[in-house]
């Protein structure tokens, strides 16, 4: 038979246990970013172009008739050069490398930029074939970000290349 003191002690300790579990199961509250901040997410997955070369008539003639493809395309994909400016200031300058043992996979990037909520000038430039001197995809826009808003910079060639959503 438990003594009264033991019963009280157990009740207190089980109560403390429940209170401990109950408190830290939902408190203190957590805020990941400040109230007046918005987030720009850059997330691009893209296959760089291949550095194809047109075969000469002599080269084509030397090939078996069923293999006379006019273009000679290596398996490797090009690196991708990417630049992001926020309000005219460089936020990212990077070169994405293709994945895979033979460098024939996709190139990816995923970055977060926390910015103050409000208007910003956003510019993104991408070149997916580095033998080409200029950026072949450019997107610039004035954006107005509400607090806690997430803006995504993505790339889809079917949607015209770079886009903000």
């Amino acid at each position: 038979m438990l003594k009264p003191a033991a019963i009280v002690g157990q009740a207190l300790l089980y109560g403390a246990f429940a209170a401990f579990i109950g408190y830290f199961a939902s408190a203190p509250k957590y805020r990941q970013i400040a109230e007046d901040v918005a987030l720009i997410k850059l997330s691009i997955s893209h296959l760089g172009e291949r550095d194809c070369r047109k075969r000469t008539p002599d080269e084509l003639a030397k090939l078996p008739p069923n293999m006379r493809a006019p273009m000679d395309c290596p398996r490797e994909r090009s690196d991708i050069k990417l630049e992001v400016d926020i309000d005219g200031q460089p936020a990212l300058r990077t070169v994405l490398h293709p994945t895979g043992l033979y460098k024939d996979g996709i190139s990816t990037v995923y970055k977060r930029f926390e910015v103050k909520a409000g208007k910003h000038r956003l510019a993104v430039r991408m070149n997916d074939k580095l033998t080409r001197p200029n950026f072949n995809f450019v997107k610039e826009a004035e954006i107005d970000l509400a607090p806690a808003r997430v803006l995504v910079i993505d790339f889809n060639p079917d949607q015209g290349g770079l886009f903000f959503k």
Partner: protein, 524 residues
Amino acid sequence: MTRPATSRQGAKRLWSRVEEAFDAPFGGADNPLRHLGAFGLYMLWIVVGSGLYLYAVLDTGIDAVYRSIGELSPWSVGGLLRSLHRYAADAFMLAMLLHLLREWCLGRYHGFRRYSWLTGIPLIWLAFLAGIGGYWLVWDQLAQLSAIASTELLDWLPLFSEPAARNFLSPASLSDRLFTALVLIHIGVPLLLILGLWAHVHRIAHVDYLPSRRVMLATLAALLLLALWQPARSNPPANLATIPGAIGFDWFILFIHPLTDFTSPALVWSLLFGATALLLALPLLPRPTAPPVAVVDPANCSGCDRCLADCPYAAIDMTPHPVRLGLRLAVVDADLCAACGICAGACPSSTPFRRQETLRTGIDMPQQPVDALRRQLEDELARLRRCADSVRVVVFACARGADADTLAAADTAVIPLLCAGLLPPAFIEYALRGGADGVLLGACRAGGCEFRLGERWLAERIAGQRQPGLRRGVPVARLQLTHAAAGDADAPTLALADFRSRLNHRAAALDKPPPYSRKAAHHA
């Protein structure tokens, strides 16, 4: 002693003090700190049971998961089960980490415990994986935060060709199938966890799969009251176009997200892998030489199974006896043997009344053979008999419990034991018939035996609930079992004083068993 060893000794003392303090209101058998493994398992069963209901009501679909769980009224049966599911999961995490801390403090990761230690480490990963995945299923803002933070953390490792976080880039990235997959993962990982738990304990005998009934009822009542007082609720629904503001946060399971935000994925992964590697390496650290394990003497082993039944670590197996046809023979697995001697205490051949000059038993401990124990007892009884005017007491005390050596005196003989469970009950009768007026047994506190079951088996043997027991006719009033931990410095002295006082008030020699001298006896 090395610095880490000194730190662990300090931690052991501190943990033992806390555990012993909890004994005051709970007692050893109901002290949750002494049964953290069983307590954690009980929490897991509550999680599994309540989870089955939630699985039945959960609709998989981007909006449906939020609606189907969020619509559960907090005070309905479903709402209560949801709250129990959350709080029991948190309690499981807490119990698991305390269990890990306790076993480390007590140095229980070497030798025969290495297997349990090593199989326990992956379970921590599985538990957190299951817990974090569970939060995603509600698909509220907390789920959104956790899903994005988890995938961003995973993307730091070179695992995926495309960032996993792209799955949560915008509302359009999500599909209903994702939640079907999440449900399957949330069921599969706990199943793996249960399988891992089976492996974790399968080398242990007499496993406490559940804590005592009193602990179960009290814990369930505490969690139910908590569920009524503060029901688990969903945060606002997830919206991938915005970042959640300040939200209620489960720090037991999701603490890794703030940790990543305040540090970096590199540091968090280094901490996780580093801590795991350190825990896995602990059993490889230098340690004192392992004591000799139990040895079977085929000539004296009758294959009775009692050692098999009592061994706390399933270190004994039975095989056909190589010489005595029809009989079996105990075999000791040296890797599993804890060298506690509980098997020697269980062996019916360990009775000191046997006439052999050298007492050989079926299973024995090289560091404290029963023959040496009998010789020591006979020497002490001879010494006590010279003290005719006093109450003569023999103390058999576990060397790992409270220090009883200080009790040694002209009228008190102290015989330390590897474990209280090593003592064959016949030694008590032998001491009383050899001239002792009383026998004081010093065991560890309930639930505090270094070898798990020593104090329990001893108590059951002298109560006649377990073989070998005390023979009928042994006056139990001349016997006292006392429980004390290593830190209970005064307990043996107080127990002896109390016992002496009781013996002094007994009518002299009225209930004393007939004297016995092995040297003069004509029978075995």
